[in-house]
């Protein structure tokens, strides 16, 4: 695979992860259980959407066909989205949202840390900013997972249910294909598979405090990177893309 094409596709995948999760987290705005969380959620959504914007803008440059961040975010269909299935999962209850955030941030923090050494200066720059933001997300989500997992009977049950529901989506984080292999060979981006040990350590550390156990996943769910998504992504995009689809080219 040509390096430029691989870089474009990987930038889009990362941008799609950030945008879709950012949108999901923003859905909590005005609905969080306490005021502090009502501020925390949109703040984290902003981090993710900000990262998505930088990534889309750069992906557009790399592609070189004149597409900008808005074209890439608003005018691609679900089959063209390359995000992880994990990030498109509906918010569920607060336990599921926090666990999804922990699973994702515990992967992205080491991903961005290593991407700072990318031979691509722009990607390294985006990584330098994002890595610090992800450190806060891990801490925030980790604290909640512990508080709920080691909390009341009901909160512990909800946390355990969340683990059961979301664990099947975590193997996809570490998937490799010709896109990631091409970029690893060119020194442009980290190998997702190489981050598994650190991710396991972070999750184990939180889970042992939270009295949770990771289930054995017999049927890992995958396909997001290839554009094969669940029904939920379509609903999310119909909300996210509504304005540009209805009034093409609309500007604020």
């Amino acid at each position: 695979m040509e390096i430029r094409d691989a870089l474009f596709r990987q930038l889009l995948r990362l941008a799609d992860d950030c945008l879709v999760l950012g949108h999901r987290v923003s859905e909590w705005c005005g609905h969080a259980p306490i005021l502090e969380e009502d501020m925390a959620m949109p703040n984290m959504a902003l981090d993710l959407i900000g990262q998505a914007r930088s990534l889309y803008a750069y992906a557009g440059e790399v592609e070189g066909k004149g597409r900008g961040e808005d074209d890439l975010a608003y005018l691609r269909s679900d089959r063209e989205y390359g995000n992880l299935l994990l990030v498109e999962r509906p918010n569920g209850d607060f336990a599921q949202t926090m666990l999804r955030q922990l699973y994702f941030a515990a992967f992205m923090e080491p991903y961005w840390r290593e991407a700072q050494a990318s031979a691509d200066e722009t990607l390294a720059g985006i990584a330098g900013k994002a890595v610090k933001e992800m450190a806060y997300h891990i801490r925030h989500a980790g604290e909640w997972v512990i508080r709920m997992g080691d909390g009341t009977e009901e909160s512990a049950q909800r946390m355990a249910d969340a683990v059961e529901a979301l664990a099947p989506y975590t193997d996809e984080l570490f998937e490799t294909d010709t896109v990631t292999q091409t970029l690893v060979a060119a020194g442009l981006a980290p190998d997702p598979a190489s981050l598994r040990a650190e991710w396991d350590r972070t999750i184990d550390m939180v889970f042992s405090e939270a009295r949770l156990t990771s289930p054995e996943v017999r049927y890992p769910q995958t396909g997001g990177r290839a554009g094969l998504h669940g029904e939920d992504l379509g609903h999310l995009l119909s909300d996210l893309q509504y304005m540009q689809r209805t009034y093409p080219g609309l500007n604020w």
């Binding site: 914007r53 801490r139 939180v206």
Partner: protein, 167 residues
């Protein structure tokens, strides 16, 4: 008619001063220079080129800050180009001593640790109250009124306050 030629160094200095005086829209007690967001102002012919670094990836103030710098430079008589630089990434280490003092006087505790001390798990930072200087404080919320701040409460003087997080 006499053409007054301003020396290049002089123009650069004037441009820097005009841009550097722009206040941060969310934390108006400090300027973009105090925060280290304004990286440089260089003259390219008659055009003042201001290089600006966003704080957080999704900071909604980024565009407002760039526009305010552009307006300040135009009012000072310059043609302007704003360049957004993302590498190296902005860090709270770039907030000047003067900036930290201004934050404290305004009631916002400045970042205490160096940015490389950010711990992802189980890290607790001791933050001194900007009003009474007591270190008996506790965190109320990791995220405050803007992405760059957390919410704390002083146990000694009972006042809640913002803490400018390390990044």
């Amino acid at each position: 008619m006499t053409v007054v030629s301003i020396g290049k160094a002089d123009a650069r200095k004037r441009a820097w001063e005009a841009a550097a005086a722009v206040p941060d829209p969310e934390v108006p007690c400090v300027t973009v220079a105090d925060l280290g967001i304004l990286r440089s102002v260089e003259m390219e012919g008659d055009v003042a080129v201001a290089r600006v670094t966003p704080t957080y990836s999704g900071c909604p103030a980024t565009l407002a800050i760039e526009m305010a710098i552009e307006v300040a430079l135009r009012e000072a008589g310059f043609e302007v180009r704003i360049e957004r630089v993302i590498a190296p990434a902005w860090t709270t280490d770039w907030i000047t001593e003067e900036g930290r003092e201004k934050l404290r006087a305004y009631g916002i505790a400045p970042p205490v640790d160096a940015s490389n001390s950010v711990r992802s798990l189980f890290g607790e930072t001791v933050v001194a109250c900007p009003r009474c200087a007591s270190t008996e404080t506790e965190r109320i919320s990791e995220f405050g009124s803007t992405p760059c701040k957390a919410l704390y409460r002083c146990i000694a003087c009972k006042e809640p306050f913002d803490y400018f997080k390390c990044l």
